[in-house]
Symmetry: C2
Subunit: 299 residues, 2 copies
């Protein structure tokens, strides 16, 4: 089955202690869409400006991504620029130029409105609502978010939580949203806000799923070198939803493996700048790493 | 088979944001010895002063711990006092009064010198050497350490690494010892210093084993409340070695489960001050949590 991925499509200029890379393909929908494309057909919804390089459209197409819902507007593409510190854990935003993203309204082609799996990648909760308003009969809706929306659009986000099956967020966001230092207590509290599945990302420390079938402690794939972690969280969510769309039967039965697949795609994402590494991998590469992770987690 | 545990035996005065507890039973050998005692007979080697409460000796005995190697000296018992911050991750030492521990030499009764499993719990590397100098035909030697010895006794520690089968240390210590930010790279480098098994503790994020059979990513047991994490690392090492001593066949085959058992004993340790919780659990409680952890880690 197919996946609708709605989010930002951006140009990212990223600086790390080792290297600087200007105007990479970025944005939550780009990372999540490519990640999901290894498992299922993807329909991408976003907006790009007149400066958006043709090679990035070609990249989407190379991954079989349906771009009928990708809007082309006149003006500059959303441009984010940021810098990582030595240990790659602390990120500092240098500039955010919204460009055509400022007036983005994710209006869906009618052919997209019945897509069974929906990933509301990280964008303003009001836009995530607008997408759900247009959808019919979704099988499983996953929303990703970020600290910014907890600060400036908390009410919209809280209202969104009552409309989604799963919320993906990182540990500091979970603590903030639930008002507790403990991620397991936080997950329990977030259930009461709506989603029956709560997925807390902990970066290099893995992720936790809290769902009606209990807790799942998902290990992270061990990396010895992180070139650029930008988009790892989006890749995780994309891989997760893509995998779910690729298997049959109740979603709950596949959530754990879906998280492992998401984790593995995210690990590839971190190994080079932007989508450079993810663009070059195959489903077989992903399966091999999932097998490795299985062997490393077994006891 | 039995386990020799050598380390500090102390009185700990611990303050957390919720509570202050004076003169609890503490020290690396106390925590590790009690943890190991759930699995195998333990011989404890340490030193206590004339103020050491009889009820703590009774606690050792209640856990079947052989105290023939516990020295009684005149003077005060080693006293450590420390304080935890709100999130329980940052610890501040308020006072360290060495007392009789200052002149401690872990001289072993001859009946102890053939003990097959040895845990050199956290004490000065010179004392850990002294123990090994007295041992005959050990089956498996595990050394624990701490940041202090990396700073003030690095040379002794490096020499010790060539004499042990496994080194247990936390992630920041591993980074420091190996001179790299990445724990997996650190583990690989530490192998070259001697131990064929390197176990990196990551607190609430679990632990990593690097051994000839590859990496093992050990999850931490999810706790919703941490009362006092003092001794969790010692409990982990004690549970690990105790479990190894309780099973047959090559050590390598059991290391993963041994880490899981260590993790579970450590989780109990965190749930109350000092040894208050660990003192009250049974092997059945431990097995139940190991079962839970298995279900939470399966995918």
């Amino acid at each position: 089955m197919s996946v609708l991925v709605v989010g930002s499509t951006a140009l990212d200029s990223i600086r790390t202690p080792r290297r600087a890379c200007p105007k990479l393909l970025g944005g939550s929908a780009s990372h999540a869409g490519v990640a999901a494309s290894f498992f299922a057909p993807v329909k991408l919804v976003g907006v790009v400006g007149s400066d958006f390089p043709a090679r990035y459209l070609a990249l989407y197409r190379r991954h079989g991504i349906d771009c009928a819902g990708l809007q082309h507007a006149s003006g500059p593409t959303f441009h984010w620029s940021g810098e990582y510190e030595v240990n790659m854990n602390n990120r500092r935003t240098l500039a955010t130029e919204l460009g055509v993203f400022e007036h983005f309204r994710p209006t869906l082609p009618s052919a997209h409105q019945g897509t069974p799996y929906v990933l509301l990648a990280n964008i303003a909760p009001a836009l995530q609502h607008h997408v759900l308003d247009q959808m019919r009969r979704c099988r499983f809706v996953v929303a990703d978010t970020m600290d910014l929306w907890l600060r400036i659009a908390r009410k919209d986000l809280l209202r969104l939580l009552r409309r989604v099956d799963a919320l993906v967020l990182n540990d500091s966001e979970a603590r903030d949203l639930a008002g507790t230092d403990n991620v397991f207590t936080a997950a329990a509290r977030i259930h009461r806000l709506g989603p029956r599945c709560v997925i807390v990302k902990k970066g290099e420390h893995g992720a936790v799923l809290s769902s009606p079938t209990g807790l799942f402690l998902c290990p992270a794939y061990p990396l010895t070198r992180v070139a650029d972690p930008t988009g790892a969280g989006d890749s995780f969510a994309g891989g997760l939803v893509g995998y779910l769309a690729s298997v049959r039967g109740p979603v709950e039965r596949h959530l754990r493996r879906a998280m492992v697949y998401g984790t593995v795609v995210a690990s590839f994402c971190c190994e080079d700048f932007g989508l450079n590494r993810t663009d070059r991998i195959t489903r077989a590469d992903i399966d091999a790493r999932v097998g490795e992770l299985e062997r490393m987690a077994r006891f």
